[in-house]
């Protein structure tokens, strides 16, 4: 899980082009959207594409992203349960 968490943080930084953010700056439990990292609905769509490309998980309902992308922890849990690659 620890490995996946680091990988996810790196992917998020890369896919969302978060210049000046380091993996260690993102807390596992902190909210990614709104107050925390300050991401928005377009970032959520980018993460949906990333989930399909990297982990083979297809998310059909954009609203479902809200729960999945709450924090790094929720993302990691979702990926480990649903990944197909």
């Amino acid at each position: 899980m620890e490995e996946l968490i680091i990988e996810l943080k790196k992917k998020i930084i890369e896919v969302l082009n978060l210049e000046d953010v380091l993996p260690e700056d993102i807390e596992n439990d902190a909210p990614l959207f709104g107050e925390g990292l300050g991401l928005d609905s377009i970032d959520a769509l980018e993460l949906i594409v990333m989930m399909e490309k990297v982990y083979g998980i297809k998310i059909k309902d954009p609203a479902a992203g809200k729960e999945i992308f709450k924090s790094i922890n929720t993302m990691a849990e979702f990926v480990s349960k649903n990944r197909t690659k």
Binding site: L18, E19, V21, G38, D40, I42, L45, E46, V49, E52
Partner: protein, 731 residues
């Protein structure tokens, strides 16, 4: 405002190829949304509102065989033909008839087919020049050969509504008696995939304002209205079908693709339209809503309607359940639908609606016939919060207005270009480039923008934002009444990235960021979002007069005293692959020509007397060569866009020959060539008027002494077709 007559109209959409068919479909509540038939795409799962003709069938109907064309231009020609015929304008070259058209897709239907050819071979070179928005408008204009001005607006889904607004301003300012206005847009794989990447397409028939709505269905079409002064209509003996009695444009300034929860931009646009029309909310008998069927739009628009009309919301319907969302054409497609509703006394149905949504309007579900309508409102909202609202009336409430012509000043300006960026003093140390392709000299963006807010921005957006911020800072005008941008190609880097993915990787897992950044109006709306500017916001994309068109728009509104301050910007960027295409095809980069470069220029225009750079005495656009001696008067210099290309320079020589004794200035040897380099030229002209002398290095003919300049004519042309003349004067 003075009453503006609508003396003609034409329409092509999924529900009919003319007004008669459209009316029949509306009265019978027939949808044109069906499985995909014409567009070649892997996404067969999405229902769409296609015009029920192939490109070939459209060409047959038009009686043309020419290529290149674009599907958008073919639909546009059909709708224009009907509009011109109905207003009895066919072939009337003796009249001064202008054309303002909205599109965002332009020639993308061809580019997405031939993109890989463009990059690697010469098989499809003819189509390269049809890519941009302006090319599509010019293809349409050429077909009729009677327009005296042509320009293109690109504000995504409100483009056609904003074209109607510019047309009205051209009439109110006394520039025109007849303007044909509207928009055209075909469905492309590019934006079908783009909307899919944003996850806002419904897999079923769309259901605007319904509790179960799940997105929009794309549509396509074209529609044009003929706007005319009462005096001209009377003189020509044509009947007005209705009048355009009010309009408003405001910016939501909230997010690039989402609308705010309280619908601020929509609310302000509707309110402005009512004010201009001199009407009360209770005067509106019907609202044709933007109503796309996306969860977000319909909530936001409902809130705006509740704020404006309170508990007395008039009958509302979205007709997108029948036509699909015709994107850039929707403003005029729906204006023609409103016109038909007014003329025939009915309220169109909100097709697909069954169940009331929470906190939303309850639309008219079935056609209501035999209803006396006096004033109807038509809403069009675009990405970036470019929101516009129109009011059409059977009998106008408008009164004659005293025609104003308030002096307009260029208060301050700045640039990021091939010269020292953001510097007021670049003329003291001009930089010369001896290479065919120069990227802008960029400042340290981090000093202006934090990395989180700029994470999705390409270079063009950062440059546009920084130049805008600098001018706002320098002038203290942090929330101008209008922000108007000109861009020939918009955010070409992101467009190219999305096209590349689409053509090489296929139609799955495309990056939503590339798509949302590819729309031309991204630039103007980003400036508005950054500054919280809810005023007028628009974007022009018409080849090399893109900036000039933006300047004209702002100038007219300032003169009309609709606004007091306007930020006008010009932005274009170059990518290595785009440059290589242009070079291979001989458009740029030959020896002896100036470099192909990038442009970012921003200037604040104001009617408040101030320590300005100069006064703008006049701005004129024309399709075809103008007679300069008719309006120029005495000038100390004429500034021309010589770039070393024979065809280009010959046109400037011909124009300048009309003013044989006037010294000539040039600027493209400093800034290079690009679609909006004229903005940099105008900026340089304003700067030298401030000092009262043109440096010798800007003078043509080997002059070695600076030239005193108090009044200057700036001339810019696009392919020898469109010409802009601006007269600037020293304070």
């Amino acid at each position: 405002m003075e009453p503006i007559m609508i003396t003609g109209a034409g329409i092509v959409s999924a529900i009919g190829n003319n007004r008669t068919e459209t009316l029949a479909a509306l009265l019978n509540k027939q949808t044109g949304i069906a499985p995909l038939q014409y567009l070649k795409t892997a996404h067969r799962e999405f229902p769409v509102g296609e015009v029920k003709m192939s490109d070939e069938e459209m060409k047959q109907r038009l009686g043309i065989t020419q290529e290149p064309t674009t599907r958008t231009s073919l639909m546009g020609m059909l709708a224009l033909q009907e509009a011109l015929e109905s207003a009895n304008l066919q072939g009337r070259k003796d009249l001064n008839v202008m054309l303002v058209s909205g599109t965002t897709v332009g020639g993308m239907d061809r580019s997405e087919q031939y993109y890989l050819d463009y990059l690697s071979n010469d098989d499809r070179n003819d189509y390269i020049k049809t890519h941009d928005c302006g090319a599509t408008t010019e293809l349409m204009a050429e077909r009729f050969g009677l327009f005296t001005l042509a320009t293109s607006i690109s504000t995504a889904c409100s483009s056609a509504a904003n074209a109607i607004i510019l047309g009205a301003n051209l009439i109110r300012s006394g520039r025109a008696e007849i303007v044909v206005v509207g928009g055209a847009e075909c469905i492309t794989k590019f934006h079908l995939n783009g909307f899919n990447s944003l996850m806002i397409l419904d897999h079923e028939q769309c259901r605007p304002f319904d509790a179960t709505r799940a997105g929009l269905n794309l549509g396509e079409g074209a529609a044009y209205l003929v706007l005319e002064t009462a005096a001209s209509a009377q003189r020509r003996g044509v009947q007005a079908l209705a009048t355009l009695s009010g309009y408003g444009n405001a910016c939501d300034a909230f997010h690039q693709t989402a609308s705010s929860d309280d619908g601020e931009g929509a609310y302000l646009a509707m309110q402005k339209a009512l004010t201009l029309a001199g009407l009360q909310p209770s005067d509106i008998d019907y609202v044709n809503a933007h109503g796309t069927g996306t969860p977000n739009n319909d909530v936001s628009e409902s809130q705006a309607l509740f704020r404006l009309f309170e508990d007395k919301v008039p009958p509302v319907s979205s007709t997108k359940g029948m036509t699909g969302h015709t994107t850039s054409a929707s403003g005029s497609v729906e204006a023609v639908i409103c016109l038909l509703a007014l003329q025939h006394g009915f309220i169109p149905a909100n097709y697909g609606w069954k169940e009331a949504m929470e906190n939303g309007v309850r639309p008219v579900a079935e056609v209501q016939k035999g209803v006396a309508l006096h004033h109807v409102m038509c809403n069009s909202f675009g990405f970036g919060g470019n929101d516009s609202s129109l009011i059409l009336s059977l009998v106008s409430s408008a009164k004659d207005e005293h025609r104003k012509s308030t002096p307009v000043y260029i208060q301050a300006a700045t640039h990021i270009s091939a010269q020292q960026p953001l510097s007021e003093d670049w003329m003291s140390e001009p930089v010369y480039h001896d290479v065919p392709y120069v990227r802008s000299a960029d400042p340290d963006f981090k000093a202006w923008l934090n990395p989180l807010e700029s994470r999705r921005m390409g270079k063009i957006m950062k440059r546009a934002l920084v130049t805008a911020m600098k001018v706002m800072q320098d002038t203290g005008v942090t929330q101008p009444d209008a922000i108007v941008t000109g861009t020939g190609l918009g955010c070409i880097e992101n467009t190219e990235l999305f096209l590349d993915q689409l053509c090489r990787e296929g139609e799955e897992m495309l990056k939503p960021t590339y798509f949302m950044q590819s729309t031309h109006n991204t630039i103007s709306s980003l400036i508005a979002i950054k500054g919280g500017c809810h005023g007028y916001n628009s974007t022009y994309s018409h080849k090399s007069i893109s900036f000039d068109s933006a300047l004209l728009d702002a100038y007219l509104q300032l003169q009309l005293e609709d606004i007091r301050t306007a930020l006008v910007t010009g932005n274009d960027e170059m990518t290595p692959s785009y440059f290589s295409i242009l070079q291979r095809t001989g458009y740029v980069g030959a020896p002896g020509e100036v470099a192909a470069t990038e442009t970012s220029v921003a200037m604040m225009l104001t009617t408040e007397p101030c320590e300005a750079l100069c006064v703008v005495e006049d701005v004129r656009l024309s399709l075809g060569m103008p007679q300069l001696t008719d309006f120029v008067g005495n000038v100390d210099a004429v500034m021309l866009g010589y770039n070393g290309q024979q065809d280009n320079d010959r046109i400037y020589e011909t124009l300048a020959a009309q003013l044989p004794d006037v010294p000539q200035l040039h600027y493209k040897h400093l800034f290079g060539e690009g679609y909006t380099t004229s903005g940099l030229g105008l900026y340089a002209a304003a700067q030298l008027l401030k000092s009262g002398v043109a440096p010798a290095f800007m003078c043509c003919g080997g002059r070695t002494e600076p030239l005193p300049v108090n009044r200057l004519l700036f001339v810019n042309h696009s392919d020898g077709q469109d010409v802009c003349c601006a007269i600037l004067k020293r304070l």
